[in-house]
């Protein structure tokens, strides 16, 4: 990329940045406490007399809270929350969702995309310096690739449907209208709810499949100290570099939180024996949203680095094999180890049988 192009693109990115900086706060931080849904009625109307209900419910509000923080009594009606008089946590959850979750997740997603765009402009595409050698090294087994891609595809579907459910009201809905958005969100919710458990299973399988080689060591500290070689320079790495390991552990920890909280919310009318209270649903939704926005944002980095950022990276997960020069440049310690164990010559002769064998041993 020449200088003129770069300057032009920089300008474009700053234009986008200023656009979001102007529009987002106006649209969402303008008046978070404004009543929602009033079209033409009560907004303009005033009570002449104070409603006795406010005093009554204020008195109810003073009552003692039960174990789950709600004000409850007894009711002949049986059903979820039937005996609850006031769901105390509801207001807090609502405030958090409207004034924190929605704007901040927008900032997080937009900000990450901007950072990636800036990184692309500064660094450009990361090429294999020595060029391709043409020699292939087995990097991932068929099973590893199957697990990775099933998790990846499910992740993308869950991510998109989740973002539609969280932010769609402020993004997609004004564009397509309420009816169409309701239709999209309804099927999005179905997909999200039914694929969630499948994702959970595959995610756990993936964590076990990739745990080998993903434990941190001193090399990773040095790798992080050098910024992972992101801004040029070289940072040594084994089979996985510090960034990949960090992504693994973020996925493992935040992923577990998201999976658990998601499963709690997923079958409210099937798992009635757990007696999940409204408060627990609110907490689960909080953890689910925060955890998934976190993973979602970090995944942008992983997806970018794994696809268009770096020459030779995508093919490793696509075909299971990487170029030997790519391995030498980005995973030098792994390359040396393979060389030492004499596994490289074996792969160079491309003896498929031995690679399949190693696939089964992993």
């Amino acid at each position: 990329m020449n200088l003129v192009n770069r300057v032009f693109l920089f300008g474009f990115v700053f234009f986008l940045l200023s656009l979001t900086a102007i529009t987002i706060p106006n649209a969402y931080a303008e008046n978070p406490n404004k009543p929602v849904g009033n079209i033409n009625g009560p907004d303009t109307q005033q009570f002449n007399v104070k409603s006795p209900a406010s005093d009554l419910w204020r008195a109810v509000r003073q009552r003692e809270k039960d174990g789950s923080g709600n004000i409850t009594g007894l009711s002949q009606v049986k059903g979820p929350n039937a005996s609850t008089l006031i769901n105390v946590g509801g207001q807090e959850w609502r405030d958090w969702r409207v004034s924190k979750l929605i704007p901040y997740s927008m900032y997080a997603i937009g900000g990450t995309l901007l950072v990636i765009a800036l990184f692309r402009l500064i660094r450009g595409k990361i090429k294999i310096k020595a060029g391709r050698s043409g020699k292939k090294i087995k990097r991932f087994t068929d099973f590893q690739r199957f697990v990775h891609w099933s998790v990846a595809i499910l992740f993308v579907i869950l991510g998109i449907t989740g973002v539609i459910l969280t932010l769609g009201r402020y993004g997609l809905l004004p564009l397509v209208g309420k009816e169409a958005f309701g239709f999209i969100a309804y099927y999005g919710k179905l997909l999200h709810n039914y694929l969630g458990p499948v994702f959970s299973v595959m995610m756990i399988v993936m964590l076990f499949t990739f745990i080998k080689g993903n434990l941190f060591n001193w090399t990773d500290l040095k790798w992080f100290a050098k910024g992972g070689g992101l801004m040029g320079g070289h940072a040594s790495a084994g089979r996985y570099n510090g960034g990949e390991k960090a992504w693994y552990w973020i996925a493992a920890i935040a992923g577990s939180v998201v999976i658990l909280s998601g499963l709690i919310m997923n079958f409210p009318q099937l798992i009635t024996w757990l007696n999940i209270s409204n408060e627990q649903y609110q907490q689960a939704q909080f953890l689910h949203a925060v955890g998934s926005i976190g993973i979602f944002v970090v995944s942008f980095g992983h997806i970018y680095m794994g696809t268009i950022a770096m020459e030779g990276a995508f093919e490793a997960m696509q075909t299971g094999e990487c170029d030997s020069n790519w391995a030498k440049e980005h995973h030098d310690l792994w390359y040396e180890e393979l060389q030492k164990n004499g596994e490289l010559t074996m792969q160079d002769e491309s003896s498929k049988s031995s690679s399949n064998e190693s696939a089964q041993t992993v």
């Binding site: 009560p42 006795p52 979820p80 929350n81 207001q91 099937l270």
Partner: protein, 198 residues
């Protein structure tokens, strides 16, 4: 006429007969497991026992509408909070946010997932054509369009549950408070001097 309607349940009068619950179920033909209205009793069997009939309170700043991911709620000219079941996706967020436990969910689809939300409409139907069969099927009766008030309040035996224009409800309640204090004063006089009607 754009009144601002409200419910009010007089805890001094409610006797926990659950007739409002039954009336609501019958009038709106709500499915099993859906309770648009319920009676909750506190201090059951103890001195100071009180009961309250609870349903959607048609909040001015409704939390359900604020958190709905598909924006399916709307407020009518009368201040009634209604929702559109064609848009609702049954996510349950309204029930997380609602202080009064008004949103109800039927079971539909695989693994007992939530169906479209159902709640008290103040007997005002829904966004479908007024009086149509569709409206009745989805949202229940539209008594307001017929010039009637919600059945739960209209047939309350002790007139504990009041529904209607907020100012009228307040007026009725204020008169009750006055007469109650009068009776308290007179009864204390009787207790002191004995009952001597002459």
């Amino acid at each position: 006429m754009a009144a601002n309607v409200k419910f009010y349940c007089d805890s001094e009068r409610c006797i926990e007969c659950n007739a409002c619950v039954t009336a609501c179920k019958n009038e709106n033909e709500v499915p099993w497991g859906i309770n648009r209205r319920r009676v909750v009793t506190v201090k059951d069997g103890e001195p100071g026992e009180r009961s309250l009939s609870v349903a959607c309170m048609h909040c001015t700043d409704a939390p359900c509408a604020a958190v709905c991911p598909v924006d399916c709620f709307y407020t009518t000219d009368n201040g009634i909070v209604l929702h559109d079941k064609d848009i609702c996706i049954g996510c349950g967020y309204c029930s997380y946010a609602c202080p009064f436990g008004a949103p109800q969910f039927p079971t539909s689809g695989a693994f007992a997932s939530r169906g479209k939300m159902d709640k008290c409409t103040f007997c005002a139907g829904g966004p479908e054509e007024t009086g149509s069969a569709d409206e009745y099927k989805k949202y229940g009766a539209n008594r307001l369009a017929e010039g009637k008030l919600p059945l739960c309040a209209e047939m309350c035996a002790t007139k504990a549950l009041l529904a209607g224009d907020a100012n009228m409800v307040s007026d009725i309640y204020r008169k009750r408070v006055v007469s109650r204090s009068m009776s308290t004063i007179s009864s204390s006089a009787i207790q002191k001097g004995g009952f001597n009607p002459q």
